[in-house]
Symmetry: D2
Subunit: 358 residues, 4 copies
């Protein structure tokens, strides 16, 4: 009898259930009645506190299209290694104990960067783990693509599309805040797909006067409206030059609920047109996964089951040049896949006249 | 030769182009080459400053599905009657002059409440006008339905749907701001359709402690997440008791960019769960009209052409009990169709357990 | 203790689950622990064969957006009254027996015309019933609107939209078959919303030569493409003149799988352009209900619970002039709400130049 | 002064206008007033008959989201090289003459396999050409991805989603015909994404009895419904064994309008459940491109402009391992990128239990 645990951790995104289904269906196809799958509740939290249940095949039926995660999720349980919390709970030890209590052969872990780091810690602690790269940010190192990303791009693009019709009818400037605190793949793709005129990324600090000039030039060329796709983590050149500590402090004291409001204010004193703000927020991580993500999730899920079959533990499943590959968790942990400022997407965007505010 | 002018005024919304197309196609079908249609640019502004052009039949082709307005729009040109501006432009006189210059038989005006009021003014000044009720707010008096409303409800509902999957996965509280400054039809409908747990409307002042209690009760019943559909114009019972002047002042001094941020703050000190904010904003007025709005716009457009054929001027086209009727502009002007607090939709919402925070 | 049974019968459509949820949530809100809801499986079949189960409140959670029906459905169990089948099962007696076995206070029935007829039969047999009007065809007598209709219109319209871009790029003629065997509300609404050039309804027999002429005229006017929205039940003037028996025989012997293929063939010999066929089929009844249908379903569901509370049995819940009303099942049974050939929607469609092939 | 011609040829698909826009915007950014772009009407036909016009920058504005092609398209003008038609028109000579007449520096050609072949012919004839790979089939050799593909997958997946809710509610078998005559990428991806139980591809001939057995097994396991994603070009093992000539003859004489109807008939005599057919047809190629395709189209368009800048003619722009590369037309012409029967997507699909009918 194979015993497999499965958990989803970190911010939810589209494709989690599709991936879970891929893992489960493959395991049942391969092992039939000789496999038991344990669903662990609310991410690592469930592993720490022993909240899990034996799943049935029908639990994985009909979830391909479902947003969110049927297992629940929670934030990362610790930032530091092996934290013992205020109630003297040794989190890592608890996780190991519950792993043993369930008599698991392997633990399948779906999550983003923080989650991969913890997965690697558990590997180092001797647990068999296989992980999948989940995030709308597409910032997991070791894979060209994460599931959730393209679904999110689709939603953010749709927002930009709709804003477009209003912007053109009124001749207004719209600042749309698109998810991405540290990494700008999502605003970059949505910005290109949604026909943004300016895209602001965490990777390319902006110069507010250059942005104002870009908008003025558009007006001078008869284009009265403009749309800015602004990453949550967009920052000015001045901020980029700050020490990390000072930057964090400045942001914490910022009077605006998020950066797009500050940007709108900064622009209001520089351009004549009316400026409006749109903050779609978590809308971008919800709903049914797009077809692309469903196929990717299914492939990832089947590949995780394959690694379990082959007892090839300690890996994250990745997509590299269109092929599924196992990537050692030891290599993935602690890295971040940011947008190279000279990547092809940015070059193409610049070539068609999109400004990055730099 | 018939000469018909057409303009769209006020905030744009879905269905404007579908309505314009309905008017134009009907006129061309009826009068063939014996009609000239003048497109007036950017609402009343174009009429004041004489910016218009003779349209061709092909200009109205392929616009049924198009968001925004091909004619452009602008805000209401004056709040007071017959304003003479700082450049000594007599706006009303200019509009009358340009109407005569185009030798119009009738001016077709598409817009919301403010627009209808100005349309009525032009009628009083002796112009032949026919108007159509446009707005995502569905607050135009004299018609059961405006075009734009159901398209907007669809978008806001979609936002709530997506937020739902994140909310359930994380056990969080989400406050989603839905358009509606004075009137709550849109948040009411989207709230019901999107499965909101709490709906806050301008018409029903809220008690923050009651909302907090509702959320706590849900948690006590095992529902860790909650979704609040919050009208832009939601207000507390304390605010509702203020004098209008004091309320306006208080709002102008409010440190939050919009009400939903304040609400989130107020709740943060009262409930344990994490709270997130989503402000889809003008996203709700853009994009292609839904099928409902396209049919309604087509019917409204054809009806406007019929009124022109019958020289039955001075009316807004309305929908009453499923039938198209002409509604005298003199009756429409200056009124607002708010949500009755005991309307069937609210009663049904309460019956299935939705709270209105009161 | 209240005991309520609930079943869905006939073809599925969007909004069934939203309606079921509306009924259940209202009952639980009203009666709390003093109500038991029995879900009856696969429509009347479950009532005949005693397949049902006690539902829990959480069964009705999260189904607002879900297509299909969580209870399952089946076709009408009999065409004639009180049929005793080949296995000597007295269907009506069985239904009465199971109703008693469950000790029901009332049976809530969701379905279309056939379902309403059987609901009325059960009422005549002494059962307490309350019914809801479900169908994408909007052909239930006694209500202005059924749930499912607008969701379906949205889908069919989206098909026409997409076909449009291909049709215009290629200058082709497209015949799109839209659901509606006896009644044409769906093709009428989708046809108008989707910008069809010709709409063929069961209520308006067509003349193939007139259609060909319409298409030729369009080509002569520089419009190389045309789109036909064709009801499943579209029929020619010759067929309309046949005796019902002869018509049925002719159709049964027709070599085409459905009418749109015949139409395409008939046109192919009359016009030069290439002709393509599209049969979206049951696609039109599936997926998540649109916002309009969710609100309507919720209102209908709450109203059904209200009728139960008031012991006002024997009624279907209807929407008349925007208000919820109880409609005696005795009046509803056996009637059909067809499209009046002079209804406002058809008149408006003709006014903007849409042909009905007559 | 640079003079660039541009044409779209073959079946239309999503992303054509986005690509055209990418080419044009890049050219204008690079060359400003020193470039003239000539739009050639209806594909090669316009080049043969000299139908083209000088485009203006605003012609390329607002078309990013637009389905179809603003230039119009037509089928391949010849199957054989250098055909002289019944009116003694030497097509190739005409194309060369018009190229010279327009004084083009380069001709940008957007199209699928047939189009690339003709592009290569024109290259051999001495014209400067750069081409882009367009098709919903993703079957162009030399590129990992064509634009149109993912948009199409999204639509076909949505159809399968909606069919799902009906299929489950009724316990029926649905056969959905998905585009793909020779190559099955689209039904493969849509089938996986749409949760199909059986996928039939041109590349994997089916055994009808095996399909029937799969469906029976599902019923035996309590799954009363099944969904088949059937490529237009699906064929049986018997047909696959035929000589090409015999196969073509047999298909031409087939009494069904398309293969899915035959399959439904074949299954009807083998399984008990009701079977329904859905033929979404050209619906799959229309409408707005998805975000993925818009980004890809923009990158392709910018890359085409780059090749023109570098005078690197005679290439198709391709995407290989995530990078844009020029692929010599001489290598592309006449090849087809079919689905390898052991590709990762098929293996994953089999691993989660999807049958390919073989």
């Amino acid at each position: 009898m194979k015993r497999i645990g499965i958990l989803t951790s970190g911010g939810d995104c589209q494709g989690l259930n599709a991936s879970i289904r891929g893992v489960a269906k493959s395991l049942y196809e391969e092992f039939g009645n000789d496999v038991e799958i344990y669903g662990i509740k609310d991410g690592y939290k469930g592993l720490i506190f022993g909240e899990y249940k034996l799943m049935k095949p029908e639990d994985f039926s009909g979830i391909l299209t479902l947003g969110g995660t049927i297992l629940g999720t929670s934030r990362q349980p610790f930032k530091l290694m092996r934290v013992i919390d205020e109630n003297s709970v040794d989190k890592v030890q608890n996780m190991k104990d519950n792993y043993k209590k369930m008599k698991l052969d392997c633990l399948v872990i779906l999550g983003g960067n923080g989650t991969q780091k913890t997965a690697n810690l558990l590997r180092e602690e001797g647990l068999n783990v296989v992980s999948l790269p989940k995030t709308i940010d597409n910032d997991v190192w070791g894979t060209d693509m994460t599931f959730g990303f393209h679904s999110s791009v689709e939603i953010a693009t749709n927002v930009l599309d709709c804003i477009h019709t209003t912007a053109t009818s009124h001749g207004r400037i719209f600042c749309v805040e698109i998810m991405g605190h540290k990494v700008g793949w999502l605003p970059l793709y949505a910005g290109i797909a949604g026909g943004a005129d300016v895209i602001l990324l965490p990777e390319i600090p902006y110069d507010i006067d250059k942005i104002a000039k870009t908008l003025d030039n558009r007006i001078a060329n008869g284009k009265k409206f403009s749309i800015l796709a602004v990453a949550e983590g967009a920052l000015s050149k001045e901020e980029a030059a700050m020490k990390k500590k000072d930057f964090k402090k400045a942001r914490a004291e910022m009077k605006y609920p998020s950066i797009v409001y500050r940007l709108a204010d900064e622009l209001a004193s520089r351009v004549d047109n009316e400026i409006r703000v749109c903050v779609p927020g978590h809308f971008q991580r919800g709903g049914s996964p797009c077809a692309y993500d469903r196929v990717l999730s299914t492939r990832f899920g089947a590949a995780a089951a394959r690694l379990i079959r082959e007892k090839n533990y300690g890996n994250m499943v990745g997509l590299v040049n269109g092929k599924i590959v196992p990537v050692p968790l030891s290599e993935v942990a602690g890295k971040l896949k940011t947008v190279p400022v000279d990547c092809e997407e940015i070059l193409a965007a610049r070539e068609i006249g999109i400004s990055f505010g730099d």
